[in-house]
Symmetry: C2
Subunit: 218 residues, 2 copies
Amino acid sequence: MSQPSGPFFENMPADLLQELHRTGSLRTFAPGETLFYEEDRADQLLAIIEGRVRVWRTSPRGAAMTVHLLGPGALPGAAAVFGGMVYPAPPTAITDVRTLGWPIERAENMLQENAWLASSVLKIIAHRNEEMLQRLHEVSTQPVEQRVARTLLRVAPEPANFTPATRQELAELSATTLHTVSRIISRWEADGLVDAGRRRIRIADRSGLAQRADPVCG
Amino acid sequence: MSQPSGPFFENMPADLLQELHRTGSLRTFAPGETLFYEEDRADQLLAIIEGRVRVWRTSPRGAAMTVHLLGPGALPGAAAVFGGMVYPAPPTAITDVRTLGWPIERAENMLQENAWLASSVLKIIAHRNEEMLQRLHEVSTQPVEQRVARTLLRVAPEPANFTPATRQELAELSATTLHTVSRIISRWEADGLVDAGRRRIRIADRSGLAQRADPVCG
DNA sequence: GCCCTTCTTTGACGGATATCAAATTCAGCG
DNA sequence: CGCTGAATTTGATATCCGTCAAAGAAGGGC
């Protein structure tokens, strides 16, 4: 078994990693499959080992938004699990995905007995909180171009500076439409800031893009 | 000492309540005072016993938004405390406020030793997560009037159906301007849905307002 | 290699809301 | 009881961005 990467597994003690592998149930999902359903009782802690996942939410009327794009080391629905709630938004696989899952009782026991694990999970939840807060602030106060710039900086982190997201996904993450995103990306490409393709965007000039994300304060 | 109310204290075992009072440090804040500052290391768990608090965030350029309006039983900054982060947004007192605070090490110990407490705190954090997610969705997909309606339903809960919020605060919670909020409230008042005044709004027809929050699906 | 689906680009247009501006009302306080 | 500053209301105007429409690319499968 290969060492999984990402926030949850990063720096994890080897013995804990082994125990997690031993006690968790491995599942695989093909692109398009749903990991769990909104409104289901959150009875299982899930960790993504490999693959990309889109977390999305729709209103009764069908207005969709992408809540997160998650990769290895993410814990979709973790807050709901420990908060005793229903899952807030369904995650669906974009690529082939492998996950490890633990029933909620076992997860709670593990957290109680292992301080490192508890702290790691809380950090991940707190980080998600902070990210949502920031996005809320952006959507409330910033014009579209800045929001898209920030979204892109977020989903194409260093050092890869790359993301396989569609325009539609970027739009939903930025609270706008794919048309507007497309126009903006085209302009940026003409300005040499990014290098775009189908389902593919690479940041060519990260500091230039950061400028667009916050024209005044750099 | 009177029994404090709100999410955190609701249904709390009497002995735990006593211990919390005994070990925590009580502080008071006058209107306008700040409970803690953004960017400070989150080294203290704070619980609001009494009073109203506005949590807000500004960008370097001054664009402000109100993140939450909190009352008794809220735990401002809790996610940051347990996630080992800095406080994400400063809470300032609107009314006279009394809080109980515990240093982070003590808070962690208490949670480790008391499952009821741990579960309660996690529920509060998870609930905040869910609320932010919902607001993000609203801001991304719904027109202004619906957003304001939902905000109002949220900040003026049953049975009081009342909130002492200003138009400006409602605007920042709804990602719009006070002008737009004012126009909308005026219209609602003419339609008999609310009963508004200075720093004061009461919902007169809750189901009618819910209609405005979601015209199609009621 | 060709078709067919999915994704992307681009243009024209309209409308929901922010912005600008000014008057009005209200509450607290001396 | 009038003053004063804050909160609110209302109108006119401008504009960003979503909507509508249609035409390209770019893979993927057969």
